[in-house]
């Protein structure tokens, strides 16, 4: 129990440390990967609390998600390497206030909530996986399906928006023969 509490604490501090690192660096890739390791540390907290499936899942999902975020940050920021010493923070006073209020709320919820009876023994890992499976295909199915369909819709919509409209006379950015000829004419 002591060892468990110790490791939960260590990984918790690591999560906070990496979380701070996200804003302390000017490099977009460092920032994204610091967020990844912060989330992976949260996954390790799950593992320390004997929630094996949730922990492993968290560690797995974050790797790809944060990497994909990294490439988007590199694409959209003007100084992705941070070699120009760009400052990412703004509205400092407001942010500090909002952060302090949010942290106080979270801590008071953790301290003053009625968490119910505390179980000394967690069910074994295989049983947890089984119970999670039943939970997801039973009570929580509607929630997960709704979220899944929403995300799928957003993905299809985003792809549809990104495809250029094919209309005669509209330049789609594609260098076909006809457009190429026109450009040559224009340059003459």
């Amino acid at each position: 129990m002591v060892a468990q509490a110790f490791f939960v604490g260590v990984f918790g501090l690591a999560a906070i440390g990496f979380g701070v690192a996200v804003f302390r660096t000017a490099s977009m890739v460092r920032s994204a990967l610091a967020l990844l390791f912060s989330q992976a540390a949260v996954g390790c907290m799950f593992l320390a609390m004997q929630a094996e499936f949730l922990g492993v899942l968290q560690i797995m999902m974050m790797a790809t998600e944060m990497s994909i975020m990294a490439i988007f940050m590199v694409m959209f920021m003007m100084d992705p390497g941070g070699l120009g010493g760009m400052d990412m923070s703004h509205q400092k006073r407001f942010s500090i206030g909002a952060g302090a209020i949010a942290a106080t709320t979270a801590i008071s919820v953790a301290l003053f909530s009625d968490w119910g009876p505390i179980f000394a023994e967690a069910p074994d890992a295989a049983m947890q996986t089984r119970e999670l499976g039943f939970e997801m295909l039973d009570r929580s199915m509607l929630i997960f399906e709704t979220a899944a369909i929403t995300i799928l819709t957003a993905m299809i919509a985003a792809t549809a928006v990104a495809i250029p409209v094919r209309q005669p006379g509209v330049d789609t950015g594609k260098l076909d023969k006809e457009n190429g000829d026109k450009e040559q004419e224009a340059s003459k």
């Binding site: 890739v29 460092r30 094996e52 790797a63 790809t64 990497s67 070699l83 890992a125 295989a126």
Partner: protein, 298 residues
Amino acid sequence: MTVAIVLLTLLVGAWLLAVIEAWLTTGRLRPVAPLLAGLSHLGRESILARKPDRLFFETAPVLLLVVAVLGAAVLPLTPDLVIADLATGALFLNAVLAYVLVSLIMAGWGPNGAYAMIGGWRFLGQLIAYSMLIVMPITATAMRAESLLNSVIVESQAGLWNIVYQPLGFVLFFIAAMALAFRSPFDLPTAPGELAGGVDAEYTGVRLTVLRLARLVMLITLSAATTVFFLGGWQGPLLPPWAWSLIKTLAVAVSMLLVGYYLPRIREADLLGWCWKFGIPLALLNILIVGLLILVVP
């Protein structure tokens, strides 16, 4: 003790595969060559590029090696010879293999070089192509075993190996595993002859040795995973269980090298197109077929 045996197996396996790979490409069998090459790398200058992201540059090769070894840690060589037979073993393997991408992005971004960076981001595109083809076939094997324990997945193949029970899943997993290990024809992040080595380009000396070793260990881990999920793991007649595990793993690794030797490098766009237009529908079909078989055949 188990840890020492597994690590030694991985090291010997890496040496053996390096010998075989050189034999395939040069036609000469030189058993000492990989050791000499490794030693000579240790003596060479470790060049550091200008304005690198030092943290990523140094971490990437080590992370890749750690990921490959951690993946091997959950794969049983015999019923007793496994470092950790986790209750979420099959999922854990997916989780650690996701960090191959993180390592390659670090290796690509770290040295501050154009070729390396293109190689690193290319692997992100490659992941979008192969990752579902790693997860879905493993899901189908776990469905048959009704467990995520890798040892139970092996035991579930006692009557019939998964390569016969779900051949579609095997083919997809084999291809995706090669893409994950960035082996030819999927060696887009390194792409010798096109990207001048890609993520390898700026690495020299000790760091390059670690990177190459990690890549070989990764090939062994993925071959062992193929053995566990589809080839019945340690099961087989006459020989002891560990021998079967080693023979099958080596056979898978060599077949991956052979396939890579005879195929030309695939284009990034083609890989993505084929994986999403054919691979993923086939993987879903595989899950459907396995589900029906489980329900219909007692």
